[in-house]
Symmetry: C2
Subunit: 631 residues, 2 copies
């Protein structure tokens, strides 16, 4: 095993046989943490992004936090109901790409796929950035290291996924339930102590900035579209229905409803506490997260409680980032199998993971982190476009689905999905209008570009198919075969090449490029002594180039013997120590490169392996051979 | 012609045919400038380096400038006389390497060669640094750019030499005679006006630094060994006797004497003017060169005269650097032909120059410039070791020569060369003792290291010779030949490879690595339909690796059929646009790399060239083919 193999094994583990690719069925209590981390973790930044916009209108604006959260919860309810139907209609998994291309068109399916892929990349970037923000809220001295910490986390997640993580429910269960328990404990305790015990909330030492604007419809729409980040991840369960125990669809639907309810409760609770606690969150003031500020409102400066909340939040955010490492490579592999992405993305690596997809995701999300300095508030505006585009296409596909397959109560079901489609389409429009200038234009350019690439790739594979099809193929008689052996000198390194040429054809000639005429004479003498049966062709090279005259001669042979198959045999001897390579011109390599590009010519390299020199070194004795070693 | 070829042609010119390598015979008046620039230019820094040391002992020390110069002139006379005899004894060129290895031993010849090679590299570095120092003396604002200017000059000289410069006497004549004329004019005018016209010399505004030491034997030896840099280049004529018109040896000897006389006069004149003008030259004070200071002493602040002197000095220094570009590649080529340096150094490039040697010289001298910041005073201590080592070995070789071949007055001749050998050996010892701590240790380590490399290289070529010799070679009967074709699928890209296999052997089998068993079934069906005559071997790959099972199977074939020749045919299709490469796994390349390392196996790549797709693009139509393009 080479050094590289050993290193690989230490980092990534031993290769796994294909039959170990198993499929685990999960009970609801374990399925929830596997699929919900992305959605639930959104509560960590949804309220924060609403506040970020409302604070511009000062104290008056901040009063709209709770109403806007309510509006988002209504949207969440509509989307959840709509997706419940997808879970029943696509028990084998109904991602937006499949639903849209099945029911609408391949083109729209590709738009959904492009939206999903950008979405997955952003999930990693946003979740990691938000996770690190919780940490820097706890330890502000780490703040200058934000970008580096984010990249370190992405690298770690990428390497872990290349090694392969079993999506075992138990691994996910602890951080998700720990997060739910601690967050709900904080919310309940906050409300209880405030309203029942009548204890005052802890005041924050924040100065409320002067309003720079009044509350307008535009401001509210902007805040609303920022808060829509709360809905990211809701669709996850619809992709993974097969992971549930039977009855799969029913169990998945129940889990989806529970998840949405938990998410709604969390977001509402955080928004409520933020509003009554007068939490202020502005761009670039202090970077402390809203979750951290809310924890201060409830627990005061008690670091233990706030620390627990923030660590729980960090953990679930990193889990959310990790889910994209399953989704992105899986969707890429589906697209690769359908011929829209490079085939290599469909290869299972030796650890049974789609290694290429994992690496791509790590690279793209790292680029985003670097470009936006790991700043969650600057990444969020890019986020919602992809999410709501895939929501809209998926629901619209479902409407078409009901019209095509009908069944019991199909009009009712179509109406529900229709409501979902229309609502998310309206939200998508709002998001595009409000967020384009804040960075969403990047996504608006990117998604069509990705679709264009999908189509170019597909066209290439189709063209390849048309070029390689056996339809109309006719067998041809074997053509005559001419073999050319390139010789520089007569020595043991050349003999195997000559033998090989004799082996594969009866029409063999040797080709010598003459650079120094005195050598040619020696060569001819030695040739007559040792070879004889193969004719030796001497070609002059007035400019001392090896490659040019060889290529020229081969072209001439091809013209003189049209239809002949030509094989060029290049003899090469292989040295045993690395530094010895520098003592040889390696012209064989250059010749191979040049000749390999002549169509209809096959290049064959016949190697002669030198025996390793004796350890005691025969240099002094060998000096007797004199000054002119032969080549 | 490719873009690269066109660029090459613009920079380096069109290739030259071998017959243009001609040899020019020069009259003495033109031979002098060709061979003398290196020696004559030494006067530009010899006095300077003496002063640099003497100034440490203040005004008292500076009075020793002229006596030390005299001592160096005596040394010059001895070396010149000694070399005159080499010119007669080796009319075809008697470089130190040839004289020492002919007469002493190969080992000592290699020491001489190593000394010469380091010497040539130092000539470039020192001459360029000294040349740029003249320029910065004229325009002090350029001083911070010293290193960059030096590197730019080296790059220019390297490129010019790669293009190939005819060493035509006329090209060299102008700068050399211009330098001689202007320098002697300055010296004569200085002495004449001072002693005859009794005009005072122009005072310099230099403060004479306080003496930090008294005048000791050590200080004088140090100053003497620094001044020995004056002798560099004296040996040049002995290498090039063949370039003279007949009688070659006589003409060469006369030219050598004239050159030495001119060099001696120059050095003496500069030292005299420096001493009577109280020129101070210290490390790092001002960087103005001694030539410039002497010109100020003679001409005052007249920029025109001083400018002429400095430009003439710069020109001859750059010419001196340029002569190494003929010497270094020529000696490297001789060493390469003798098997002590890599063979590539003996290849004449398409412009009839030893391109590899030229590039090496450019690289090494640039490294020196960077390491010593283009500072001539810091480079000089490295210089004399190599020069005097080769002098000593060469003279000692001549003594041995006379003892072996005798002839008329041989004892007398041996005595002259013996005096030269002993004198230069003493100077070498002085230089080593005085200069080791100032940087000469680098050369003292380098020269034995280079000799060690020479011997390693030689041992390799000898070992190669012993491995490749035809002595004892016995022809063997052609072994049976098994051909394996790697197939992934049945399509038009595979058919040429199967045909090729049928062409070269009757024992052909196809090898398929099974990664997905469902594909295997399709493959078998298509195989029966389209191929039939070739047996298809299916090998499972539990870890989804392609390369591993292929290598394993081939090894098994080699074990099962000992003595069989095995050819592995790898089909490959070639795409027409660069980006299309990324859509294919390029596994053919990895397979070739892995299989090529199995001894006794020949790898052959049979390419299928795809037709370029039509410009109108058939992507939309091709979408009809459905989702699973075949591979």
């Amino acid at each position: 095993m080479s050094g590289w193999s050993i290193l690989r094994r230490i980092i990534f583990g031993a290769p796994l046989p294909t039959e170990q690719a198993e499929f685990q069925r999960l009970p609801k209590i374990l399925a929830l943490p596997v699929f919900a981390s992305d959605a639930l973790s959104s509560s960590a930044y949804a309220t924060q992004e609403i506040l970020l916009n409302l604070t511009l209108a000062g104290l008056v604006g901040m009063r709209f936090t709770l109403p806007l959260t309510m509006a988002i919860l209504v949207l969440l309810a509509i989307v959840t109901t709509s997706y419940t139907q997808t879970v029943y209609a696509y028990p084998s998994g109904g991602g937006a790409y499949i639903v849209a291309s099945d029911n609408l068109s391949v083109q729209l399916g590709l738009f959904a796929a492009a939206a999903l892929l950008t979405d997955y990349v952003l999930t990693v970037a946003v979740s990691v950035a938000a996770g690190i923000q919780q940490l820097t809220s706890l330890a502000p001295s780490l703040y200058p290291l934000t970008t580096h910490l984010c990249l370190l986390v992405i690298l770690t997640i990428t390497l872990t996924n290349l090694r392969g993580v079993k999506e075992s429910g138990t691994l996910f269960a602890f951080p998700v339930y720990f997060f739910l328990a601690s967050m709900y404990a904080m919310i309940v305790w906050g409300i209880f102590s405030h309203h029942v015990l009548r204890q005052p909330l802890h005041p924050l030492n924040q100065t409320i900035p002067a309003a720079t604007t009044v509350v307008t419809a535009g401001l509210l729409l902007k805040a609303f579209s920022s808060g829509c980040a709360a809905l990211t991840g809701v669709e996850a369960i619809s992709n993974g229905v097969r992971a549930f125990r039977p009855p799969e669809s029913r169990n998945a639907a129940v889990t989806l409803l529970v998840m949405s309810a938990l998410l709604g409760g969390l977001t509402l609770g955080i928004s409520y506490l933020a509003q009554v606690g007068h939490v202020v969150y502005t761009h670039g003031m202090d970077q402390e997260s809203v979750v951290s500020l809310v924890a201060r409102v409830v627990f005061g400066d008690n670091v233990v409680w706030r620390g627990m909340i923030l660590i729980a939040t960090t953990l679930i955010l990193l889990l959310a980032a990790n889910t994209s490492y399953a989704d992105f490579p899986r969707l890429s592999a589906i697209l690769a199998r359908d011929g829209f992405m490079p085939r290599q993305l469909a290869n299972l690596g030796d650890r049974l993971v789609y290694s290429n997809g994992i690496i791509l995701l790590g690279v793209f999300s790292s680029i985003l982190i670097v470009a936006f300095h790991g700043h969650v508030d600057r990444l969020i505006p890019l986020y919602a476009v992809g999410v709501f585009l895939s929501f809209t296409l998926s629901q619209a596909g479902m409407v078409k689905h009901w019209f095509r397959y009908r069944g019991k109560h199909w009009q009712w079901k179509a109406a529900i999905n229709g409501l979902g489609a229309v609502t998310t389409a309206v939200v998508l429009t709002v998001v595009i209008v409000e967020k384009t200038l804040q960075g969403a234009w990047i996504v608006l350019v990117l998604i069509p570009a990705i679709v264009w690439i999908f189509q170019r790739v597909h066209a290439h594979y189709q063209y390849l198919r048309s070029q390689l099809t056996m339809i109309g193929y006719e067998t041809e008689p074997l053509p005559p075969h001419t073999v050319l052996v390139l010789v520089h000198n007569v020595h043991r390194g050349v003999m195997p090449a000559l033998n090989y040429a004799r082996e594969i054809s009866s029409d063999v000639r040797a080709l010598h490029i003459e650079i120094d005429p005195t050598n040619t004479q020696i060569l001819k003498t030695r040739w007559n002594q040792w070879v004889q049966d193969i004719p030796l062709v001497i070609v002059e090279s007035p400019y001392r180039s090896l490659v040019g005259p060889i290529v020229e001669y081969i072209r001439q042979v091809r013209i003189d013997h049209p239809g002949h198959l030509v094989t060029v045999v290049v003899p090469e001897f292989v040295v045993t120590r690395w530094w010895e390579r520098f003592l040889h011109a390696n012209s064989a390599f250059l010749i191979k490169m040049a000749v390999a590009n002549i169509p209809g010519v096959v290049v064959t390299n016949v190697r002669y392996y030198l025996k390793p020199p004796q350890a005691n070194g025969s240099s002094s004795q060998n000096l007797l051979y004199g000054r002119n070693p032969s080549r």
